[in-house]
Every structure is written in structure tokens, then in C-alpha cells.
């Protein structure tokens, strides 16, 4: 469904992605793992075509359509949602406003406010709070709920477990697995190997802008040498 083919991305002259290829199908969780600064966020930003980096080579296709030259909002309109690294909530919006700004409160289809509050009861309790008054876990839940309001078919999640307490990580894993159950394709960027292994169907390992390994979770678990080599885990 989402296919990335031979992507080369640059920040100015810095050649950061050097031929990244991967794909995500409906109803699967694909993990993209790698150490700090290896190009995970750059991959996600390239897919959304955000202002930096610049994609100079390679193609991003979604349901057969080339996305490279579309603006970020047009890409989001095609039902590709972003849960960015660091949450990036809107500091001056309340919880409710984060959701209603994308879809009128009167909307009946897909993800509605009521459904979002159903899925994330903590957010319902805090609906009049602003983003900066929420706990880390609540913030991440809101970042996910905001992404869902565009009724995505694919969700790009950039280190959603970063900085969360273990119980929150578990809750989040539950949410992500449930989304897969509804047929969404999820590209999950993680440094938290255990969270990724718990969820992912397939795994890509990235090192200095190159995909250095690709396999199903079962394969990686049977032969963890790649994990040891590229992530330094034992």
C-alpha cells in the first residue's frame, strides 16, 4: 500500500538517506529500528514531504500514486497520518480543540470526538486542559488521537514510547495493536526494541541512512545476530 523505493534525502548538502526502500501493507505493523541519528525521523519526514529534508532521488508511492511532489496536507488527505517524534501538540489548544480542529464536532463518520474519547478515556477527563498541562502518557495519547481524526489508513509513528513509563508503553501498545486489528498499516519507528518486537510483524534495521536488514519478527527472533550487530543489544 505504501511503498518507498530507493530514497535519497538531503539536509542541504548532508546526504542523510542513502537509498531507503521499504513498504507497509494494510493490517500490518512494520518497525523501523536504528540507533540515534541513523535516519529514522528523516525517513518519516521524507514520506510526509515536510520542508526538510529534500528528497532528491527515489519514489514514494501510495496505492500506486506518486507522493513525492504533493504537499504535506495533500499527503495527509490521502489518509496518511503522522504521530511525530516529541508529540508536537499545539500549546494553545485544548485537548478537545486538537480533535475538533481537524473534524467538526458534528461529524458522524470515522473517528469522531466521541469515539476518540471512548478509546482514550483519560483524554475525555482532561478535555479542557491544554497540551502542556497533560502528563507524558496523556500527551502521547492525544498525539495518536489527533492523528486518527483524519481517519488514516496508514499511521507513521515516530518513537511513540519515548519517555513513557512502562505502564503507559503497555497501554500504547494495546492501542497500536488495536489499530492494526482494524486494518491500518503502521510504520513504527522505535529505539525501544522490546516495544517494537512486541508489536511488529516485520522489521527493518537502518544504519546511517541505509536499510541494512529486513525480515519478519520470527526470523529476527530465531537469528538475533543482526539485532546485535546494528542495535548493539545482547
Amino acid at each position: 500500500m505504501l511503498e518507498i523505493d530507493g530514497l535519497h534525502s538531503y539536509y542541504g548538502d548532508a546526504h542523510v538517506l542513502q537509498g531507503v526502500s521499504l513498504n507497509v501493507a494494510p493490517g500490518e505493523i512494520v518497525a523501523l529500528l536504528g540507533r540515534n541519528g541513523m535516519g529514522k525521523t528523516t525517513t518519516i519526514r521524507s514520506i510526509m514531504n515536510l520542508r526538510q529534508p529534500v528528497v532528491r532521488q527515489g519514489e514514494i508511492r501510495y496505492r500506486g500514486e506518486r507522493l513525492n511532489d504533493l504537499s504535506p496536507h495533500a499527503i495527509a488527505r490521502r489518509k496518511i497520518a503522522l504521530v511525530p517524534q516529541g508529540r508536537r501538540l499545539f500549546a494553545s489548544l485544548t485537548v478537545t480543540e486538537h480533535l475538533t480542529m481537524l473534524k467538526p464536532a458534528s461529524a458522524k463518520h470515522g473517528w469522531t470526538i466521541a469515539r476518540a474519547f471512548d478509546a482514550f478515556p483519560r483524554l475525555a477527563e482532561r478535555k479542557h486542559h491544554r497540551g502542556n498541562q497533560l502528563s507524558g502518557g496523556e500527551r502521547q495519547m492525544l498525539a495518536v488521537a489527533r492523528a486518527l481524526m483524519i481517519d488514516p489508513e496508514v499511521v507513521l509513528m515516530d518513537e511513540p514510547s519515548e519517555g513513557l513509563a512502562p505502564v503507559m508503553v503497555q497501554a500504547l501498545e494495546g492501542v497500536i495493536a488495536a489499530l492494526r486489528g482494524e486494518g491500518l498499516g503502521i510504520l513504527l519507528v522505535e529505539q525501544n526494541l522490546y516495544s517494537a518486537l512486541a508489536l511488529a510483524d516485520r522489521i527493518y534495521l537502518i544504519e546511517t541512512g541505509r536499510i541494512v536488514h529486513h525480515g519478519s519478527k520470527a526470523e529476527l527472533e530465531a537469528d538475533p545476530s543482526a539485532l546485535q550487530r546494528y542495535l548493539g543489544v545482547h
Binding site: 496536507h73 495527509a76 480542529m101 489527533r146 483524519i150
Partner: protein
Amino acid sequence: MLAFQIMNGLTFAALLFVVASGFTLIFGLLRIVNLAHGALYLFGGYIGFTISKLTGSFLIGGIGAMLCVAIMGLLLDQGLLRFVRGFELRQVMLTLGVAFVLNDLALVMWGGDTFTVATPEWLQGAVVIGSLFYPKFRIFVLVVGILVFISLWLLINKTRLGALIRAGVDDLEMVEACGIDIRRVFLVTFMLGSALAGLGGMLGGTFLALYPSADAEILVFSLAVVIIGGRGSLVGAAIGSLLIGLLNTFGQVWFPQLAYFVIFGPMAVLLAFRPLGLFGKAA
């Protein structure tokens, strides 16, 4: 006498607020320091003057001024600024160029004489407040200023468009990544901000006057208001307007030779302690 001066300060503040609120709205969301804002004000005044003279209606003049200047804003945004999005210096230079062109254009169209928009009959005369006789029209300006504040506050804090504008001020890229075509929000905001300049021109053209350099004067005041209040802050613009309006009025009365210093001196001191203004947030 003191009460009279305070009222003068407040009414001037109201006019400033109408103009500067549009300025700060555009500055906050689009990150454009629109140096043509003063020229839009001047055009609002001239257009309002002409329309109200032709139709004999102050109200139609005011509405016409707002509409025409909103359309000028549309042309400016879609015709020019669109091509320099994201390049701050180019935007500023472009709006400065537009300001000069518009100023010359106004000179060609209306000449160099000083005009005043005729005060409609229902706003002539004075209101008695206690022992004070105060011009009705200036009270009207004060009321309009308050109404503009309330409407903008409701728009920004209680509507979906307002939530989009606030989100855009916080994090433009993220708004786009959520599927919002921010350019449309930009355009609406730019037109609204321009319309406010037009309304300001109509009001200022009635209780001050219209002449070829009035645009630069109001621009300098608006800049000061927004710098004091902080980029994009409505409440900041209101407080900045009050401060500048009162300082300007009392400065002229007490230290006529130092009128500008009375405004910009305190502004400099404030910026030394709060570089982003009273309500400014880092971009």
C-alpha cells in the same frame, strides 16, 4: 481636563487596536511583518471617504472600505506574497515596496490634500459623561474598538477557524501534516487583517484626517503596539494599544517636543526585559 485627555488616549488606543489587531494577526500566523499595512489603512480611509461621499452613507462607506481593502489583501497575498513564502526578508522588502507603490497610487488618485470623512449626523455632537462633554464620534470609535476586540477574541478562541489559526501560530508544519491546507487559512487571515486596516482607515479618516503620510504614522504606531504586546497576541495588542494610546496623548500634552520619545523610550525599556513583548512566545 484630565478626564478629557484620558478619553482622548482611550479613543486613540481603540483606533490603534483596530489597526494593530489586523497587523498582529498577520504577523502571528503568516510571520509576515506587513509594512504595507499602513498603506492599506490609508486606502481604507480614502475609499471610505469616496464611497460615503458618493452614497451619502457612512455605514456603506465603512463596509465598502473593509471589503475593498480585504480584496487588496487578497491580491497582495495571492499575487505577490505567495511567491516568497518562508523567506522573511524578501517578504518584508516586498511589503515595503508595495507600501511605496500604494502610497504613490493614493497620491495620484486622491491628490495631496488633507481629507476628513464626514461624520454622519447620528454621530455628531457630544455625549455628557458626568461633567465632561465628549464628542460622540470618538465614543463610537471606542465602542467599535471594544466590539472588534470581543469579536476577534470569540473568533480566535471559540471557533474552528480560530483553533486553526492558533495551531498555526504554534506549529505550522504540524498543522499541514494534519491535512489542513494552511494557505487557505493564511488567505482568510490576511484578508481579515486587511479589512481591519480598512476599518481603521475609515475611523481614523473621520476623527483624525487623511493625508499622504498618514500611512507611515499609523504603521509606526502599529509596529510599536505589536512589539510591546508580542507577536500574534490579541490581548497583547489590546494592552499595547492602551499603553501607546495613553502615552502618546499625554506625551503630546506634557512633553510636546518629546512625543515620540515618550512612546519609544518605555518600549525600549520593556524590550530589554521582555524581548518578545508582553505576551510574545518564541517562534
